[in-house]
């Protein structure tokens, strides 16, 4: 859909030329990756039952929104950001604080003001707040490139985590926020898993379409040019910093929308969901799927979710090791990927 399907003309040639056949088989790794991962997901869903499939789908949709939005920055523009989880957190916390209606006095822990807003009123606030933060941060970050950019985005993720943890008057720190409201349109509440999945998929579709529109427009072409050669792009009169800032802010806003969904889905959030590690996992998903491909990010998110949830069912693996084991598996997978396919499953560019 979003990656080129230019493989077929090679089939005819491959009949005559064995060398071409090997090349075709190798380039068809993309096809294999698609088939295997989708088949894996379907099998998994069938084996584990509908309820589990719905949960899996919702987790996938949230990670996929994050991965697609991050790919705009990392893949299409070439800014390797590991601070994306910060925007996810801003979205989640805004929705949580504004919609939560918990009576904290009864919990005998720190009380924070409750607003009791509906989800769809709080979400735009979170998205805009993340956008404003992205503008402020992006103006500074625009001064940096390459490895320095990685470091400052790293710093941003840590700052966000510490704010979530320590701004206790707003976030309740490590206690977390309870009773985040479920989305509601009119009298219809998305409180069962299936309807929430539908909502998450709608969000994902909007993000994918928006991203697709961005990368296929002339704006997207300039982003590609910036990734290729920023100085040369400047020479033609493009104000590179404006382009970079715009895509950075858009990407942050998408991540905040995912954050809002996440908070509402789990109904409880605490700072542990927004640690740096999550951000690095997110970058791994993008690299796994491939830079500068939307479909690749979806596939990467699916692989990650399957690995994450699938580890639960590995026979002989005690429950308490599942969390660590999936990080090990993902790490090994990334090392293998970098060794044998540095452009990721579907990507055409290397990091």
């Amino acid at each position: 859909m979003f990656t080129g399907s230019r493989r077929l003309p090679g089939l005819k040639r491959s009949v005559r030329d064995p060398g071409a056949f090997i090349r075709l088989a190798r380039s068809n790794l993309e096809l294999w990756a698609n088939l295997v991962i989708i088949a894996w997901a379907v099998t998994f869903a069938i084996l584990q039952g509908t309820g589990f499939a719905i949960t899996l789908g919702t987790v996938f949709a949230i990670w996929a929104i994050l991965a697609v939005s991050l790919n705009l920055v990392v893949g299409f523009t070439g800014l390797l950001s590991v601070g994306h989880i910060g925007f996810f957190g801003i979205g989640a916390y805004t929705v949580a604080v504004l919609t939560s209606n918990a009576s904290y006095e009864q919990l005998r822990t720190e009380a924070i003001p409750t607003f009791g807003w509906p989800f769809f009123a709080a979400l735009p606030v979170g998205v805009v707040l993340a956008g404003l933060t992205a503008v402020a941060v992006g103006v500074v970050f625009n001064r940096f490139r390459d490895d320095i950019f990685v470091l400052v985005s790293f710093g941003f993720a840590i700052i966000c985590f510490n704010v979530f943890l320590n701004a206790r008057a707003v976030t309740r720190g490590a206690f977390g926020i309870h009773e985040v409201a479920k989305p509601q349109i009119g009298g219809w509440v998305f409180d069962d898993e299936l309807s929430f999945l539908a909502l998450a998929v709608v969000f994902l579709l909007v993000v994918v379409l928006l991203s697709w529109f961005i990368v296929t427009s002339s704006f997207g072409r300039v982003l590609t040019a910036i990734r290729e050669d920023e100085r040369a792009t400047e020479v033609f009169g493009y104000q590179v910093t404006h382009y970079k800032l715009t895509v950075w802010v858009l990407s942050a806003m998408m991540a905040a929308a995912a954050g809002g969904l996440f908070a509402s889905w789990t109904t409880f959030i605490d700072p542990n969901s927004f640690v740096l590690l999550e951000s690095i996992l997110l970058v791994s998903i993008v690299i796994l799927g491939g830079l500068a491909t939307i479909w690749g990010s979806l596939l990467g998110a699916m692989t990650f979710v399957l690995l994450e949830e699938g580890m639960r069912f590995v026979p002989g693996l005690p429950d308490q090791y599942v969390g660590q084991a999936r990080q090990v598996v993902l790490g090994v997978l990334l090392v293998l990927l970098m060794l044998f396919r540095p452009q990721g499953l579907l990507g055409r560019y290397r990091l």
Binding site: S218, R221, V222, T224, A225, R227, E228, D229, R231, A232, T233, E234, V235, F236, G237, Y238, Q239, R348, Y349
Partner: protein, 300 residues
């Protein structure tokens, strides 16, 4: 004779500076054209190849110095380009040739001096300079290798919103370079070095520039391709009437196509004149090989 005309140009500029440092140069330059036109006419009687161009400089650098930290790349350089001219900037490695163009485009830190475009001061913001109709083709081609040839060409005109006009310009560029038309949907990385240079030139032309700045357009190309590039530059100048300023290390080739040449040595302009004048003096030997009397045995 040429050198005298260059010296007179310099001295008259100094008097102009002392009288009115911020005023437009256009009028002053017109006054100057009296004596310098005569010398040029004398020159053209000696060689028929160079057609003298009259009129004021459309682009003028006045006493520009560029410094990268403590390193001085260009010192007190003054030069100008007339409408329709092809001007070469030559000199050995590290003489500051490319710095001249970068200084013009706002890509190098200009610490003193001014750049004038049609008598008005140019800002140092690249995106503003481009709007005046100045296009820069950077050294080493700097193509966007993961974009197609068409997309690369489109990158050349950032401020053009009219799709039909983009199409028209692309067609005329492809008419000039038929090879680009054949491969228009290929990625730029799939082209040979010579074709990439043609694409880089074409991308510069997409802005429909009045002044085209070329930085080492023949760098790293095979000799027959080098010839082709020079021919193309001449064609662009003839057919489109584009004013061209070209920085080149390939002296023989570039002298055949330019109207005038500036020679730089260690950040200073040491000579200005027509190709014939350059050939008549031994200025090139001096700057490229060092002064004859100072040259050691291994240098000769």
């Amino acid at each position: 004779m040429r050198r005298r005309s260059w010296l007179s140009l310099r001295s008259s500029k100094r008097t102009w500076e002392s009288s009115d440092p911020a005023g437009p140069i256009v009028n002053d330059m017109e006054e100057q054209n009296g004596p310098s036109a005569i010398t040029r006419e004398n020159g053209s009687s000696a060689d028929a190849e160079s057609e003298p161009l009259d009129g004021p400089f459309i682009l003028e650098m006045v006493n520009v110095s560029v410094r990268y930290g403590a390193v001085s790349a260009l010192e007190d350089a003054s030069l100008g380009v007339r409408k329709g001219e092809v001007v070469a900037v030559m000199g050995p490695n590290g003489a500051g040739k490319s710095t001249v163009l970068k200084g013009l485009m706002g890509l190098a830190p200009v610490v003193s001096g001014q750049v004038y475009w049609r008598g008005e001061r140019l800002t140092s913001a690249t995106h503003e300079i481009v709007k005046h109709g100045i296009a820069f083709v950077p050294q080493g081609r700097r193509l966007f290798t993961h974009l197609t040839i068409e997309e690369n060409l489109e990158m050349g005109c950032p401020y053009l919103r009219d799709r039909a006009e983009v199409r028209r310009r692309m067609d005329s560029v492809m008419e000039l370079f038929p090879v680009l038309h054949q491969k228009r949907r290929d990625l730029a990385s799939q082209m040979s070095g010579g074709q990439q240079q043609m694409l880089a030139l074409g991308r510069g032309l997409m802005a429909d520039p009045e002044l085209l700045l070329l930085d080492e357009p023949t760098l790293g190309l095979a000799p027959n391709i080098v010839k082709e590039v020079f021919h193309t530059i001449a064609v662009i100048s003839d057919r489109l009437g584009t004013t061209i300023m070209v920085v080149e290390h390939n002296i023989k080739g570039v002298l055949d196509i330019v109207d005038r040449a500036y020679i730089l040595d260690t950040g200073r302009i040491v000579f200005e004149g027509t190709p014939t004048a350059v050939r008549e003096t031994n200025i090139l030997a001096e700057v490229f090989l060092g002064k004859v009397q100072q040259a050691g045995p291994d240098e000769q």
